[in-house]
Point group: C2
Chain length 315, copies 2
């Protein structure tokens, strides 16, 4: 029995093994993922993003608890930034989530931003597929939202939650920079801190400036105190309310198409990279690199020379 079949039969360790294989860029693992693919598309994907220090991991932890009480199964993909600078703190946070580790209904997996040949977004979507095939009802994707790939993933979630805290400063900047357009729900965490209600008012005012049509989704603002388990059920209710909206408006189809398109583009890119690795002889690259250093050729001309040696345009 292949890994794909084992996963569909409920084998958690097979899922972990497949993910590891995918992480290593193992070709068999990719094949298995293709087998799984036809059994996916049922899970609901929630992206949770926000700067470091806003309490995302604690919030995710509590949201898991709330979803479990509703008898829903949960997958979590926690994306660590490549950066060594924040790596430590995030590892600590992760530990907090580990209490769910003995719960068969929860599957948590960290995703390092390094080492995935196909790019981070592709990696995250692959992991979503595996958890989807494991029949997780809700998959939470947590990221600090820095970098193109991370933003891509959040943009293609079904529901996107932006976590803020009072007193972080530059809230207006945050808004201007365009996060407004991708957040479906704003969670103001650490809401017991000073400035929570004024941040809410500020957010509301900014949202008012958008010209919503009668049938548009108007982003919800929820005050939470993850550490004290406050506001969590309300946040989860908003997720369901947004899902209801997506389904009844047909918007969910659009989001899923966006996700498929992103995955397709990323897969094309990684397939091209594989072509290059397989077809181009390293000695020739070495020679051209020397020519580049000596400025005997330009990078564009060198690239064309290499490409013409290994591939041809169809037309």
């Amino acid at each position: 029995m292949g890994l794909a079949d084992k996963i569909l039969a409920g084998d958690t360790r097979a899922a972990a093994r497949l993910m590891r294989g995918l992480e290593d860029g193992d070709l068999n693992a990719m094949e298995e993922l293709c087998h799984l693919y036809s059994c996916t598309g049922k899970a609901y994907i929630v992206g949770i993003t926000g700067a470091s220090g806003v309490g995302k991991s604690t919030l995710v932890d509590k949201v898991i608890g709330s979803l479990r009480q509703r008898n829903m199964t949960v997958g979590v993909i926690a994306i660590d930034p490549t950066s060594p600078f924040t790596g430590g703190a995030i590892l600590g946070d992760r530990v907090r989530m580990q209490k769910h580790i003995c719960d068969q209904g929860v599957f948590i997996r960290s995703l390092a931003t390094r080492g995935w040949t196909g790019g981070l977004a592709k990696a995250a979507i692959s992991m979503i597929h595996v958890m989807d095939a494991m029949r997780k009802d809700i998959i939470l994707v947590e990221t600090v939202g820095i970098g193109q790939a991370e933003t891509d993933i959040i943009r293609v979630a079904d529901t996107c939650i932006l976590v803020l805290t009072p007193g972080m400063g530059d809230e207006i900047q945050v808004m201007k920079a365009g996060i407004m357009e991708i957040a479906d729900i704003f969670a103001i965490n650490k809401a017991d801190r000073e400035g929570a209600s004024s941040l809410k008012v500020e957010l509301q005012a900014l949202l008012e400036m958008n010209c919503y049509l009668p049938n548009d989704w108007r982003p919800a603002i929820v005050l939470t105190e993850a550490v004290n388990s406050k506001g969590i059920d309300e946040l989860v209710e908003e997720i369901f309310r947004h899902r209801q909206f997506l389904v009844s408006s047909g918007e969910i189809e659009k989001r899923r198409k966006e996700r498929a398109r992103l995955e397709l583009v990323n897969t094309i890119e990684s397939t091209i990279k594989d072509y290059i690795d397989a077809e181009i002889d390293q000695e020739y690259i070495e020679k051209l690199t020397d020519d580049l250093v000596r400025r005997k050729i330009s990078p564009g001309a060198a690239a064309r020379e290499i490409i013409d040696r290994s591939i041809k345009r169809v037309h």
Copy 2:
């Protein structure tokens, strides 16, 4: 007279125009860059990286001043993270650097992480070439060092400076995560804060654990207070000492080759993407995306179908 010739003749506005063209993926701009390429390879590239809030921009600002006092011309490429979260603060920092804007010997340019088709690393290297052709002696590349592309750029700089501050916590984690291998100089900024000397001791202890050969470069540790202009000359001296080391050891050739290789690989990828973009009509992508949403095809199979339509292997 083309943009390339104008730039070589010292026309700053032509340089700005070329960079804008490159940013837009304009084909003429790429051609002009090819013309320029043979006149590049003289500038010395310094990467400056570190978490948000360590004071990188102020440090860069003061380093510019110190280099100008030595009659060296300076180019600065400031890479803004895509993230809306830190965008605001960074814009503010940038303003601080603007006092050099009237100085003909300084050219500062921000690089957004979004929208460059060829990827961030390729974009940064293109901008390095333009500033190099503008005869800037030293080019400073400032980044928060999150994400693969950013790390790539820093890795291929001639000298890489990692900026830390006391009291950020998790210093050991920083080290473990592998930044040690790419930093040539550590700047402990805000060194008037408590913990600066213990951070230095900690760093030294960690560096001792590396088994350096007699001829290896041993990373320098410099205490700085950028705001108070302290330690800046010492930092700049260390940059020159490192350059001297690279030149006398022949190591500089290796670094430049690494940079050329990175650029070549990135150019190959973007060229193949251009091929595919030219061959594949959007309707076809649309159809395959629909098939993906309906799980009628897997992403891998869809990607292969698209690629096979546009390019063929020669062998």
